[in-house]
Amino acid sequence: MPGDTAPDPIPGRPFVSTPLPEPMPRRSSGFYGRLVVIIVLASVALVTFTAYTIGEYLSFEREPVPVQEVFIGSWGVLVSGERPPNQLLLLALLGIALIAFVALAFETISSLMTISPRRRYLEALRGADLLEAPPGARVRVTVLVPAHNEEQALPVTLAALARQSRQPDRVIVVADNCSDRTVEIARDMGHEAFETVHNSHKKGGALNQVLGKILPLAGVQDVILVMDADTSLGPKFIEAAAARLEADPELAAVGGVFYGDPGGGVLGQFQRNEYTRYSLQIRQRRGRVFVLTGTATMFRAEALLDVAAARGVFIPGTPGKVYDTAALTEDNELTLALKSLGATMVSPPECYVVTEIMPTWRNLWKQRQRWQRGALENLSAYGFTAATMRYWGQQVGIGYGTVALNCALALMLITVLAMPTWIWFPFWTTVGAVFLLERVFTVWRGGWRARGLAALLLPELAYDVFLQVVFINSLWSITTGREAQWGHVEHAAAHETAAG
């Protein structure tokens, strides 16, 4: 096994001494980061202002609706027939039509991106016309498992890998700065172990080292599954993902749909519900991917080669490196990179993975802070392009959602605090019921606990507010230029039972 015997590179003499021109640097996050914050906030303010103007305009025509007392048996309740004026419904309908139009435009643009000239250029560069695999040819699956002191989780993960309906052709555990038995465990279980050398760039740096070694030797039939050491794959993940890549030679990557580990109490359930809804959304979008999850994604080796070749030219980063180590969230960044090069990707429901959930609020805060801030920083690095347009829209959507939800909560609070008696509004009760049903049905496959939590409505609203506070905080920390940090959960032995 080459991974076992690879000697350390001899420091001192480089293979090539001819100097090269300086690569295009990734934009420093300071100025552009703030610009992103300004653009997101301005867009949110604009949408809010438009909605507010509409409210102001309609308030002139608003007439008070009398409250009636209705008896159900001997129970008398006050009922108000108040409902939004017709003009408001019409304007909101226009708003929905506008959102639908934008969604359609994003879809069209992303379809057009798939025939990007960059793609042909990169294909010509690697001589794709000379070495093309016929559709249906069997792919060779190499699994890369980056691991940083994962002796607890690794045996479970590798054992789960052995139970896949289709076995990978090669498994390489990428031991990154490990001080525990990670390497021994990998070798004992009959897999290759690759130890990183002087890596100070976390997961992305570790993967770059191993990819730099295997990609130059990869052929058209090679696919690479990058998966986390604390993640267990669905039993048919490899079979389904490989089948997709075999069937469609133009498909660049198959991403996993992730679910949360059991346990973790209410906090765990919140996260599981969130993941369940997200996976439902992906399924309803017919596998259209927002992010190729870092927990498990299968890439065509050629697609990664293209990313490495295009770095510093079409996309930010160091030339020749697959992962941009300056990015906080490397999976979101790689997705943007692939999309910028016109790659197509899919997340089929069969390719599900179960990943760890954050055990404490503090861990969750750190994780989400990193995701959110990473996403914003990546947008600042890529700018406003055809490939990133949808992601900008997503950020504005999160911002508007923050304003809308908190205003609605404030309104409810004020109403409850100021009303002398309880009055029922049938219109708004119906709307509330629709939301409630949606909350419950979207987590239906999560089991009774998930449905029960969703049915309570208020706890999940509080969880949403928590995520929105993370959003606002990451905008704030980018503006003040505070350093972002990685969070790492040390695994207890209990994780084995959870993942197994």
Binding site: R13, L46, S111, L131, D248, G320, T344, A418, M419
Partner: protein
């Protein structure tokens, strides 16, 4: 039973205050929007469009993007990416923008016609008719091959006419609403026009009719001006983002021009710079694996004579054929670059093959390609060297070639 008592912390007069009414309507608007989005979650999406389908739908000139083109190389394209960017933007953006502005004008015009025809008379039809004209012009520009100058000027003049026409109508109808349309039109077209000097001049001239109409119109209603303010904010945002996108595009074009130099335009092989850029990682990889690397140099003898006798076009064909022959003979994964005018360099994992074998195999592949049919035979020479990346550098391996150069072997 009496109604449930609720909170008594705030005076119930809060509920009838005007700000509360506006706030409640604002929340109601958001809630209805979110209700729509929630219901939309249950609408299934169509399957993803395969690139194959997109290619079938949209005609694209593939040859333009193939790096293995044998087109004459124009220095203007190569040296001025900004010029190219402008031309491309003119060709792509203007018909689309014209179509969108036309569609919007048409819709507003039709709505106005339906609402106010009886009150105002045939004057309201002008807007709709103009929208139709814009759509037709957009179609013509999209289909006909016009120069970027023509489309830029068409856009600028038509947008000026739109602003002037709307301002004129505002003055005729004495309506601030129509004046607002004119302002919106000017604001939204400004960012697109900003790319060209004529567009900037047009945007400045456009302020004049709006200014005159603004002086004539006596009616001012709050909502219209609120919308105008919002639109102004929107327009400046679009302007900002467009400038950003523009900067990115220029950067990308420049970077691309730089990369083009890492590819040889005649053969599609790496250029000297391109190979050197990759060689470092290649060497590192071989060093880790503990394997040697091989270097093969393959020269076409007397290429200058072939050029002189049969023309440069034929010379380029020979180079291309030799590159393809090398690709098919050397092991997969070999990096091949056009190293000199008539020579290629292959950098491979593992020891280099015997030079005689290279010459024989490449020569055979060349013969099969039929490039030299009816012409003078092509003569190849090859030299090979191997070494361990930890001990030698690429630069040292390459000049080692003459020492192991075999006798020249002619091939047809």
């Amino acid at each position: 039973m009496s109604p449930l008592p609720a909170g008594l912390l705030l005076p119930d007069s809060v509920l009838v205050e005007p700000w509360f009414g506006v706030f409640a309507l604002f929340v109601a608007f958001n809630t209805v929007i979110y209700l729509g989005l929630t219901l939309a979650k249950f609408i299934p999406w169509p399957a993803q469009v395969h690139p194959r389908t997109v290619r079938a739908l949209i005609h694209s000139d593939e040859e333009d993007y193939k790096m293995t083109v044998r087109k004459p190389w124009t220095w203007r394209d190569q040296n001025d990416p900004i010029q190219r960017m402008r031309a491309a933007t003119a060709a792509q953006t203007i018909p689309l923008a014209l179509g969108l502005v036309g569609a919007l004008t048409l819709v507003i015009g039709l709505v106005n016609t339906l609402l106010y025809f009886s009150a105002v008379g045939p004057l309201v039809i002008v807007g709709a008719a103009f929208g139709l004209v814009l759509i037709v012009v957009a179609q013509v520009l999209a289909r006909a091959q016009v120069s970027d100058q023509v489309s830029v000027w068409t856009w600028t003049i038509l947008m000026l006419v739109l602003v002037a026409e709307t301002s004129w109508r505002a003055a005729m109808l004495d309506s601030a609403v129509v004046l607002t349309y004119a302002t919106i039109a000017l604001m939204t077209i400004a960012p697109i026009s900003m790319t060209w000097p004529s567009g900037i001049a047009g945007a400045l001239i456009g302020l004049i009719p709006i200014g005159i109409a603004g002086a004539i119109v006596s009616l001012v209603d709050t909502l219209s001006w609120a919308i105008a303010a919002v639109t102004a904010a929107l327009a400046s945002l679009v302007l900002l983002q467009l400038r950003l996108a523009g900067i990115t595009r220029i950067a990308v074009e420049q970077a691309r021009a730089q990369t083009l130099s890492s590819t040889d335009p005649i053969t599609g092989a790496f250029s000297r710079t391109g190979l050197i850029a990759l060689a470092s990682a290649f060497g590192e990889s071989a060093e880790r694996a503990g394997t040697p690397v091989g270097v093969v140099i393959c020269d076409i003898s007397h290429l200058d004579h072939l050029n002189a006798d049969y023309g440069f076009e034929y010379g380029a064909e020979v180079l291309g054929a030799t590159y393809r022959a090398l690709r098919s003979t050397l092991p997969p994964g070999t990096l091949i670059a056009r190293w000199t005018g008539a020579g290629f360099l292959g950098l491979m994992n593992g020891p280099a093959p015997d030079p005689t074998v290279v010459v024989t195999e490449v020569g055979e592949a060349l013969a099969v390609s039929g490039v030299a049919l009816g012409k003078r035979p092509i003569t190849l020479t090859a030299g090979c060297a191997s070494g361990s990346p930890g001990e030698v550098t690429l630069e040292e391996l390459v000049p080692a070639r003459p020492r192991i150069r075999p006798p020249e072997t002619p091939h047809t």
